[in-house]
């Protein structure tokens, strides 16, 4: 039985323990492991916009990569991590890296300045980046936690994953709100998608059922802070 306690940090994040490791769930959607000075982000889906243009001729705005980078750089400036872990699906497709505008490519390369980059691969980017700095891995083990893209079914104590793009819907009276969220039972953690154009999957969806034995906690991303939401307040879409 894992314990589930939380408290709001000064910067609006939610402080919890995941499998005994102290962690902060940031309202940006990033995970901060203070002890290791490691920051973790999932599902950036760089170049999703241009992927639609290339595949369907659908001209979504080509600014999603720089939008995602803007937010990522803000978090790096605030935390200055020694390690930055990408939890997979960092690019929307295998050719995404080649479509990067030159300035965006330079900005991604610059993320490695003064820190280690770890690219866990996902289903969208199975080969990981080729020309960008950093280590490409299937999974990584740091501070007693295991970092991989797709969560494995059944109990996985200490697993930190992405892939599912969790989102929570909360209703009050006649109004309702839907936000990206973290999901954790104190033993494992699923991160929200960090990318600008990434949608969300309701955490009441069947895809989450095999992951948690007891009702988990949803930590919804709000303006300037994270809101802990109890299981009973959640609604399906």
């Amino acid at each position: 039985m894992s314990s589930l306690s939380f408290k709001i940090s000064d910067c609006g994040g939610l402080k919890i323990e995941v499998f005994g490791t102290r962690a902060t769930l940031r309202h940006s959607g990033a995970l901060w492991l203070e002890g290791e000075r490691a920051m973790v982000v999932a599902d950036l889906h760089f170049e999703k916009g241009s992927s639609y243009a290339a595949r369907f001729g659908q001209m979504l705005p080509p600014y999603d990569t720089r939008e995602t980078l803007d937010r990522l750089e803000r978090e790096l400036a605030a935390l200055n991590p020694a390690t930055l872990i990408f939890l997979g699906d960092s690019f929307h497709d295998g050719a995404g890296e080649d479509r990067l505008p030159a300035d965006d490519r330079a900005r991604i390369a610059a993320l490695a300045r003064g820190r280690d980059l770890v690219w866990a691969v996902g289903n969208h980017d199975a080969d990981g980046p080729r020309a960008l700095p950093g280590a490409v891995v299937d999974e990584a083990a740091i501070a007693g936690l295991t970092f991989r893209h797709e969560p494995l079914p059944g109990a996985q104590p200490g697993e930190v994953a992405g892939h599912l793009h969790p989102a929570a819907r909360v209703t009050s009276g006649r109004a309702s709100v839907r936000r990206r969220c973290f999901v954790t039972d104190g033993s494992r953690l699923v991160l929200p998608a960090f990318g600008a154009f990434t949608g969300g999957l309701n955490i009441l969806d069947a895809a989450f059922a095999p992951l948690f034995g007891t009702p988990p906690l949803a930590a919804a991303l709000g303006r300037g802070r994270v809101h802990a939401v109890g299981w009973k307040s959640l609604r399906p879409d």
């Binding site: 659908q58 001209m59 705005p61 080509p62 479509r99 909360v170 209703t171 709100v177 939401v229 399906p236």
Partner: protein, 853 residues
């Protein structure tokens, strides 16, 4: 006056055999046809208007020489409703058959079967009856030019309803294209009575653009060569073209018909303070239905329809055949009601604007309007649904749902009798619609930019289109129009040989054809019977907006299609429900009227309040209410705005009565609360209805500088700042993104659910706003939000009007006028992000409670 022998013998004999004489406006339309003139016929319903539109074509077709090769389409008829096109097909069959004309008239709508469509392409009917969306598809056909080369005439029905919106923009562009295919083509418009026919004429007519801009160029189409790519040099600005070289559209007026009889129901002198449902008057309405042959009971929203239907059936001890008809019901169910109506089996139909126009109902002898109609023109249309015989008066009864509505209904009745209709503002064609049209043209055949620019400016709404805007639209269609040129290699339209632009490939063409149209409705979910853990696809009861179920929990009950249902689950695009006949429905959001109060009616209401001699026509309790208002507070002058401040409970209220309609009021309230917040007043909330705005706070607002508070500059930066954050902008953006083709509703092989579209357009909106705030679609969305959802123009007029004319009454308690709007508190919730944060915070409190219990 034209002699009856203006008709060929076959036609005059047909009229005589039916015991009819051709009406003056029918003969006038025949004459216009013979002269080859464009014509707009304005006539009330029941005057043989449709026949007047078709007569010239039928005569021409009856006189044409036999040909060896099959002819193309002779006359294209465009109707706003699919059902109307099908209905006209049926109605035309009679004269064609009885006169023995060799004329084929067929409809083609989204519902037409594939086999028939294919046959129509090979063998075009003489008369093709269709909708604006189908015309947009014709424009995207390969070979459209040959298909319509013989086109002689286009008839636009219900032109009054078609022109003043994006659908009208698209139709005008389609007409301009057809005119290129067939320069001899004549345009005919059929319209109900409108305030300003000139606007409809201008929309319908051909606007001749000024001569080609290639200075000093000789004959032979000088501008043609300049089109190999987007010209680098700025294109000369077109001269204003209105009225210069434009074809005039001749106006033909039908005779007025008998004056309608319009009454306002006084309800035994008991008019409720507030509300939208007219619940108090249901027993009287029932008796009125009982005393008439067939009544149409019009309401303004679907929920009012459900409510009224429910209430009438509670009273229906006589088992009268009372039916329900609104846009959410399954099409099949609606057709059943329509058929029963046509057979004369129905005593009353409770309906929304779905029955505002179109199909002839035969025996309706009374129109009842439940809750105020909000505009005189719409009411005239609705009254026209009764008694489709021109010389007998139509009868209508207006049933006010509240005290202010009592004033409004009186004003509406006076306006109808006095012939004062609501004016529409002039319209400029929307650029997202132009983007869709441009893509369609590229699917049909390659085009040269300068030729196309002239063609487009021939359409009324685009007469003043600047070359720069045209260029921006071309760039948007081609590459998305982003400052970052990363999509050059994925262009949707490409310049090719001889500078002609064409669609990129077959895939692009297919995708465009699947997404034609300008009607962007809220995402709809199917309402199906089914329950349990794994609901299966049960019987479909109808459709409802996705948002309707968003706030419901499983187990909640609601009224739909005239019955009480229990909500079970929402799976994909299906909402599963089961019957809960013994449950009381939890009331859905009524939402008040969805139409804004017209400017004309609003000013009539203000005048009526001020002029005590007008009070005599009102019921005793309304007179008493007005009297008390005068005693306790102030009765404002006709050109003044009353503003009251008073404490109530722990709060302080600021209420003002501006009568500008709910949309303008909501916008105004949003902007005022921002301003009050900056002034340090700390507003807590607001509520707005058609008549007034109520803002409350913890501190008193009695000492504010009111002229500064209502200063006109709030429509500048304040509006811009609020708008960018507003959900209205996101909604407007979504519509523009869909119409322009940025987002597709339908992909080959898959249908996107509304939810997916909503989610991704919101993200796209946020990103685009930050990185390219001047993007074409953001400009379109801003313009739409300002005119549509926000009524900014009206708000601007109002702020100008009340400058220095605010009458402030500082009171120690609620005034009689304030009661209705005080009663509305708690029914509304201000939407937006702040509310979202509140909900999350609440959920967290719930969690804490959950943990502590």
């Amino acid at each position: 006056m034209l002699a009856a022998d203006a008709l060929p013998p076959r036609f005059s004999e047909w009229f005589a055999a039916r015991g009819w004489a051709p009406r003056a406006h029918q003969l006038a339309m025949v004459e216009k046809g013979r002269q080859g003139r464009d014509a707009l016929l304005i006539a009330p319903t029941g005057g043989g208007k449709t026949l007047a539109g078709f007569l010239p074509s039928l005569i021409e077709l009856s006189e044409r020489a036999p040909r060896n090769t099959p002819a193309g389409v002779h006359t294209l008829y465009v109707s706003p409703l699919k059902a109307l096109a099908v209905d006209i097909e049926r109605n035309l069959a009679t004269p064609i058959r009885e006169m023995g004309l060799k004329v084929v008239a067929e409809s083609r709508t989204g519902d037409t079967g594939e086999a028939r469509k294919a046959r129509q392409r090979l063998r075009p009917p003489d008369i093709l009856l269709t909708t604006p969306e189908q015309l947009a598809l014709f424009c995207a056909w390969e070979g459209a030019r040959e298909y319509f080369a013989d086109l002689s005439c286009v008839i636009v029905d219900e032109a009054h309803a078609m022109w003043p919106n994006k659908r009208g923009d698209l139709l005008a562009l389609g007409l301009a294209r057809l005119q290129r295919f067939s320069p001899k083509m004549r345009r005919v418009g059929l319209s109900a009575t409108v305030d300003d026919p000139d606007l409809v004429q201008r929309w319908l007519g051909v606007n001749e653009p000024p001569p080609p801009r290639g200075e000093g160029a000789g004959g032979g189409g000088p501008a043609r060569t300049a089109s190999d790519a987007l010209p680098a040099a700025p294109h000369p600005q077109p001269l204003p073209t209105r009225g210069r070289g434009s074809h005039e559209v001749d106006l033909v007026l039908g005779s007025g018909g008998a004056q309608p009889i319009v009454e306002v129901l006084v309800s035994g002198g008991k008019v409720p303070w507030a509300g939208h449902t007219a619940e108090h008057a249901m027993a009287e309405v029932y008796e009125i239905i009982k005393a008439s042959k067939t009544a149409l009971v019009f309401v303004n929203t679907r929920f009012q329809a459900e409510f009224a239907f429910q209430e009438l059936w509670k009273l229906n001890d006589d088992g009268l055949a009372i039916a329900l008809h609104h846009g959410s019901l399954a099409a099949e169910q609606r057709r059943k009601v329509e058929a029963a109506m046509a057979r004369g089996e129905i005593r009353a139909v409770v309906c929304t604007s779905t029955l505002d126009m179109g199909i002839d109902w035969g025996d309706v002898d009374l129109v009842i309007q439940l809750a105020a109609p909000k505009g005189a023109s719409r009411m005239v249309q609705r009254i026209g649904r009764a008694n489709h015989r021109l010389d007998e008066p139509s009868r209508a009864i207006l049933v006010p749902a509240s005290r202010f509505e009592m004033l409004e209904c009186r004003a509406a009745a006076d306006a109808i009798l006095g012939g004062h209709l609501d004016g529409e503002p002039a319209r400029t064609g929307a650029l997202d619609v132009l983007a869709q049209h441009l893509m369609g043209l590229a699917c049909s055949e390659p085009f040269a930019l300068t030729d196309l620019y002239d063609e487009i400016r021939a359409a009324g709404p685009y007469a003043d289109l600047a070359w720069e805007d045209f260029e921006t639209v071309v760039d948007f269609v081609s590459t998305g129009g982003y400052a970052l040129k990363s999509y050059d290699k994925f262009r949707r339209i490409v310049p090719g040989q001889g500078g002609l632009w064409r669609a990129r490939n077959a895939q692009t063409v297919l995708r465009h054809r699947m997404n034609v149209g300008t009607i962007v409705t809220a995402a709809m979910v199917n309402v199906r019977v089914g329950g349990g853990k794994r609901p299966m696809g049960g019987r479909k009861v109808g459709e409802a907006e996705e948002g309707f179920f968003e706030a419901m929990k499983p187990g909640d009950t609601f009224i739909f299609a005239g019955q009480v249902w229990r909500f079970n689950s929402l799976v994909g695009t299906d909402a599963f429900v089961s019957l809960a006949p013994d449950k009381d429905p939890m009331m859905p959001s009524w939402g008040g009227a969805k139409f804004p109060l017209s400017t004309y009616l609003a000013s009539r209401v203000r005048a009526m309040m001020h002029d005590e001699t007008e009070w005599a026509a009102l019921p005793a309790d309304v007179q008493e209410w007005l009297g008390y208002q005068k005693l306790r507070s102030i009765m404002p002058g006709e050109d003044e705005m009353l503003l009251e401040t008073f404490p109530h409970g722990k709060r302080h209220h600021l209420v003002f009565y501006s009568f500008e309609g709910r949309l303008a009021h909501t916008t105004l309230a949003m902007l005022l609360t921002r301003r009050l917040d900056r002034m340090g007043v700390g507003p807590l909330g607001f509520v707005a209805n058609d008549y007034a705005v109520n803002i409350w706070s913890l501190k008193s607002m009695a000492d504010l500088d009111l002229d500064a508070l209502f200063a006109q500059d709030m429509l500048g930066d304040d509006l811009e700042a609020w708008l960018n954050e507003s959900f209205l902008m996101k909604r407007a953006f979504k519509a523009c993104a869909l119409i322009s083709g940025l987002i597709e509703r339908r992909h080959p092989g898959e249908e996107k659910s509304g939810r997916q579209v909503t989610f991704s357009t919101d993200l796209i909106y946020d990103v685009l706003r930050r990185h390219q705030p001047d993007h074409l679609l953001l400009r379109c969305a801003r313009a739409d939000a300002a005119t549509g959802s926000l009524d900014v123009a009206r708000l601007g007029d109002m702020l100008a009007r009340i400058q220095g004319r605010i009458r402030h009454a500082a009171l120690d308690r609620v005034s009689p006028f304030a009661v209705p709007i005080m009663l509305e508190i708690g029914r509304e919730r201000a939407p937006g992000d702040a509310a979202g944060e509140m909900i999350l915070a609440e959920a967290e409190e719930d969690l804490i409670a959950e943990a502590m219990s």
